[in-house]
Amino acid sequence: MSANDRHLWPYPIRYGQTDTHETDVLILGGGIAGVWAAISARRTGARVAIMEKADTRRSGAGGTGVDHWGYAADNPCSTITPEEMTRALVDNHFGYRSGISTYILASSAYETLLELESMGGKVRDTEGEFKGAPFRDDKTKLLFAYDYDSRYCIRVWGANFKPLLHRQCRRLGVELLDRTTATALLTEDGEHGARVVGAMGINCHTGAFVVVRAKAVILSTNRPQRIFTFSSEHRGAAAHRGGSNVGNGYAMAWRIGAEFTLMEKTIRSPFASPYSYPTYGTGNALNTWYPCTIVDANNKEVPWVDCNGLVLATVEERCHPAAGQKFFLMGGGNASQPHPGLKQYAGPKLIPDLEERMRKGEFTPPFYADLTSMPWYERKAIWGLMVGQEGRTRVPIVQTYEASGFDPSKDMLQTYDFLRGQGMREFMMPQERTFGEIGVAGGLVTDWDLMSNIPGLFGAGDLLFGSQDHVNAATTGRYAGARAALYARGAGLGKLGAAQIESEKNRALAPLAEMPDSIDWKELNFGVARVMQNYCAELKNEELLSLAETWLADLEQNEVRKVFAGNPHQLMRALDVMDILTCAQMIVHASKARRASSEVLSFSRLDYPENDPAEWHKYIVIRQDQPGRVHTSGRPLGFWGPYQPNYGPRHAENLAAMQAGPAPAMP
């Protein structure tokens, strides 16, 4: 049977029926941040429920793994402090990275990893597989990546971390509302901007409407994707952070008045391209493949240089800071940052003028990642540990490639650099940009409790402004879970607004009605992406951005009502694209509000060409102060204040509270 045969819908259809639940802490999105939030909230004794669009066991960008547990400055081997780590990361983004989430990350990454270890996660080389490797600490048996001197990044066997976290949630009695997509937040008496008192959703198998009352809500639904690029036939392959992550949390929070910042930052990146090879599945020297040797078609090695441009003679030297440098951040260059960052933190990388030298005939394409010539421990760490435990690599790369005969000790995997690609991905078209697929992006503004301007609404993970990645999600999730549970202790169940529930039910079920001029959700996604490519891409000015506003509003008025869903799965996708449209509008609002170009934000305004003028070197914050009216304000860089005085007492309070609930179950 094929997809084209007609099948009866296999699940009971419950359109129009409503399920109601009640809890203390409700988590929307059971990805990495969500499950960690659930565990810590539950450990305080609070009642906890997760509403998850997919299935919590494997859902989210981190559901298939993590190989590098980054920025763990709190681990016993790190030579840098959490404060230094945070300052380096924030400065390297010229201030446009959240000091709040980054400090939580750098101060509790190792503490969080130890909790994972207690659940059965493998975080050390207990079997001595890597004995003798320069990146192994023999006392702790921890393995480190990138900078072998400063030792802040730990290599882990993370392919099964998500199932372990899921098991822990179940053991602790977290209520899991799987296959339920959250569609809207409930506010006290339905008032705009009032305290959040729960959320609503749709069951993606039955179509039932779900209402959950809660004392506190944590948003952990990751970021919008598919804003600029869309592919109807390679849709899944093109969504780097997974198909479920479309920015529902942004749209939901925006609708009730929450603040967002950095929304104007979109970067030129091929991470959303449907023409790419599987991520980490081609030869390269970045990230998971660091510090792999690259050779040309004649086996000629491409030289590496340090931040001073000095050519490095050995593989070993690629993993140490340059003369005069205390430590380096990610080596190999950075595929997810629009600018090279600060020289003082730059790591070793391939010669920057490789393309020029290739054109002069010094190197012959294609190039290959030559694992065969690497020391055994590097080869084994890259192929098998990193590629293997990294998300989407164990089955898609290691098992599948080896089944086709690939042998890392004999074969060299081709890179696509200079053919069509860049790093490990390929561009689809010149205007191709991403908002949320990769990098440090815009998102929800919070205070040190990770609470937004809306009382009772917390955030965690990639959805936080200026944040990114797995360990950030784990640590901020864990922290937000405890903060939200503590908030919930002092908050009663709020009053629901009947009209708010009724109107959301009508909105969410509307696509089920077919009309003579119906379109499907993919068509609307293409429409949104086209507007963004044309009017909010590389070049911006007031006129272009106004046209973006006009044409997005046009789609909202004329096309949204036509989107048809024939079953609950399609209904979920239809609602997703409506939220993608809302997120696109947020990006356009923020782009209009920044009346200056910014190189570090990859933001170019033809009408304000000066790059990063001092008076615009600040955060632009947007919110709807009443439905449909956008309010804009500015915040200075570093608006979060000092680190330890804000973090320390809250962290201590979180740990104390986490002793109060059910004991964490051991494997």
Partner: protein, 106 residues
């Protein structure tokens, strides 16, 4: 050679829409798969539905939504029941260093 599909003049032909590309991100071996539907449960993109015939492999209802994450393969308890098949345009190439031979993902 038997292509698996018979054809003859006058046979019944259906007016079918084009199938989405790639149409087969996963390949089942019906002799190994027991239709337990664990892959249906865990798939983060909700690509499958259970087969109406009990014990048969699930239906790939939305092949174009597949994220190629491999969770269905990884979590299946019956080795060989299901395997991942990358789109043809996304199959990597490599070279054997000693012999210079070129290979690609099959």
């Amino acid at each position: 050679m038997n292509s698996g599909r018979e054809h003859s003049a006058g046979q019944q032909v259906y007016a079918e829409p084009n199938r989405p590309t790639p149409g087969r991100p996963l390949l089942f071996d019906p002799n190994v798969c027991n239709g337990c539907n664990l892959c249906v449960t865990v798939c983060p993109e909700d690509v499958f539905i259970p087969n109406a015939t009990k014990g048969q492999p699930p239906i790939i209802l939305y092949p174009e939504e597949c994220w190629y994450c491999g969770v269905c393969v990884d979590d299946c308890n019956h080795p060989g029941a299901i395997r991942l098949s990358h789109p043809l345009q996304q199959r990597a190439r490599w070279k054997r260093k000693a012999t210079g031979e070129h290979f690609r993902l099959r």
